[in-house]
């Protein structure tokens, strides 16, 4: 009997949680809004930085004879599966007060969260950009040359041909950082109103047994995931990309 009572109580909590969650979403609760905005801000910035760094690296590796190209590509592939908590721990040690970069006082700030998410997204964007650019038919570059392109214009032409594959890589990177929780929890500290984002809030609220906000944020995260997957599918189809990519860790 006690077990049955417990189950009923849990079901009631879940139902109440969902009802409360929908109320929060419909009312556009200020706290919910702030958390979502901060998540998008942190992950969006990290993605922009990762793309600005990853795309040129991918293009360089695909189009130029770079020394140690093979080992670099292996390193990037490995980086795609980096455990977020390990990255978080590493950056915690670097940024903590007694660490080499402690003087910057970045620990428990959104900047620290952006740094770790950039590190997590960079290998994905660089590696998938490389794959997309390397797949472009060499005659494209030759065509650009014969029509009078400068070396930079040749590279940009090839990159433009790979745009759908590159966008798929960027979307995969976004998927990775939006869903990430371990690293930002360690370096962000989950401070209310400052470093608290969707995933860290879900962890906290669940541990406290308060499901309304957690479920509301869960629904929003799922909607974002759906949007990212739809975007990814669009770019994969448009570019004829058939291979799968890691979207969520």
């Amino acid at each position: 009997m006690p077990a049955a009572c417990h189950s009923l109580h849990l079901m009631d909590s879940i139902i109440q949680g969902f009802l409360g969650a929908f109320r929060l979403i419909i009312a556009l609760d200020p706290e919910l809004r702030r958390i979502i905005l901060l998540s998008l801000q942190v992950s969006g910035t990290a993605l922009v930085v990762a793309t600005c760094l990853g795309l040129p690296v991918g293009a360089l590796l695909a189009q130029r004879r770079v020394p140690l190209r093979g080992p670099i590509l292996s390193l990037l592939s490995t980086g795609m599966g980096l455990p977020p908590v390990v990255v978080g721990l590493f950056f915690y040690l670097l940024l903590s007060r007694s660490g080499p970069f402690g003087i910057l006082e970045l620990l428990y700030t959104p900047t620290a969260m952006i740094i770790v998410q950039t590190v997590l997204a960079f290998p994905i964007v660089a590696s998938l950009s490389h794959a997309a650019i390397a797949k472009v038919d060499p005659v494209i570059r030759q065509a650009a040359f014969t029509l009078g392109a400068t070396p930079l214009q040749e590279v940009l032409t090839v990159v433009r041909e790979a745009r759908y594959g590159i966008m798929a890589g960027v979307m995969a990177g976004l998927g990775r950082v939006m869903a990430e929780v371990g690293a930002i929890l360690i370096v962000g500290g989950n401070i209310a109103g400052y470093t608290r984002v969707i995933t860290t809030t879900i962890v906290l609220q669940t541990s406290m047994g308060e499901f309304e906000l957690a479920i509301a944020l869960g629904i929003v995260l799922l909607l974002i995931a759906l949007g990212i997957n739809l975007g990814l599918r669009f770019f994969q189809r448009a570019g004829g990309v058939r291979s799968g990519v890691i979207l969520w860790d």
Partner: protein, 217 residues
């Protein structure tokens, strides 16, 4: 006056196998040459070297104007072009494909619009201007390649097997466009073909690739 081209004693080997053995010829400005020879005779290799796509192992490729040799720089490259058997279609509209050469030269959009439409009408693709170029048939793709080259008004125009694997109708269309270019006399045209009859139809000067060397027919 226009560009002249002197190819002097060029040689090229691939994997130890000699393809060109001291190839030499002087191409005068504004004339049309047809270079024929069987498959594997080295015609395409010669074209790639002469069009500056790759360097020869030995010998020289000299483009000159008024008797002065020009450096192999971007400025010279933009005065010559070549149409390869596989043209490399950009994944965008027919219009953008043709406009490419003008855009990278920084031409103004009004000029680009006018010239691209004009060239598309010449090759009979004006009605497909907004279509994705990857959806064109093989004959249309070949004409697209021709349009991309024509729009930049090359002074030296190399064409490598411009009608290979095309049906008679598309072959005729392309030959007619080349013949029209000849009438203008602004460009030096060099057509590489394995078809002696086509060489006869298109060329004023008939050349043959034999044993890795160019000889008059």
């Amino acid at each position: 006056m226009g560009l002249s081209l002197e190819v002097a004693g060029i040689t090229k080997s691939y994997n130890g196998q000699s393809v060109l053995r001291g190839c030499s010829w002087l191409f005068h400005p504004g004339r049309t040459y047809a270079l024929e020879g069987p498959n594997g005779s080295g015609k395409s290799t010669f074209l790639r070297l002469a069009a500056l796509l790759e360097p020869p192992d030995a010998g020289s490729v000299i483009y000159a104007e008024n008797g002065v040799a020009l450096p192999h720089d971007l400025h010279l490259r933009r005065r010559i072009t070549l149409l390869l058997p596989k043209i490399g279609v950009f994944n965008t509209t027919v219009f953008n494909n043709v406009a490419y050469g003008l855009k990278i030269r920084g031409r103004r959009s009004q000029e680009i619009e006018a010239r691209v439409q004009d060239v598309l009408a010449t090759v009979g693709l004006d009605h497909k201007s907004r279509q994705n170029a990857l959806d064109l048939s093989s004959g249309e793709t070949k004409r697209l390649g021709l349009a991309r080259a024509l729009v930049i008004e090359p002074e030296v125009f190399w064409l490598d097997e411009p009608t290979a694997n095309l049906d008679p109708q598309n072959t005729e269309i392309i030959e007619q466009i080349i013949l029209k270019m000849k009438v203008g006399g602004k460009s030096t045209i060099i057509v590489v073909t394995h078809d002696p009859a086509q060489a006869q139809r298109l060329g004023d000067h008939l050349l043959v690739m034999e044993n890795g060397q160019i000889v008059p027919r």
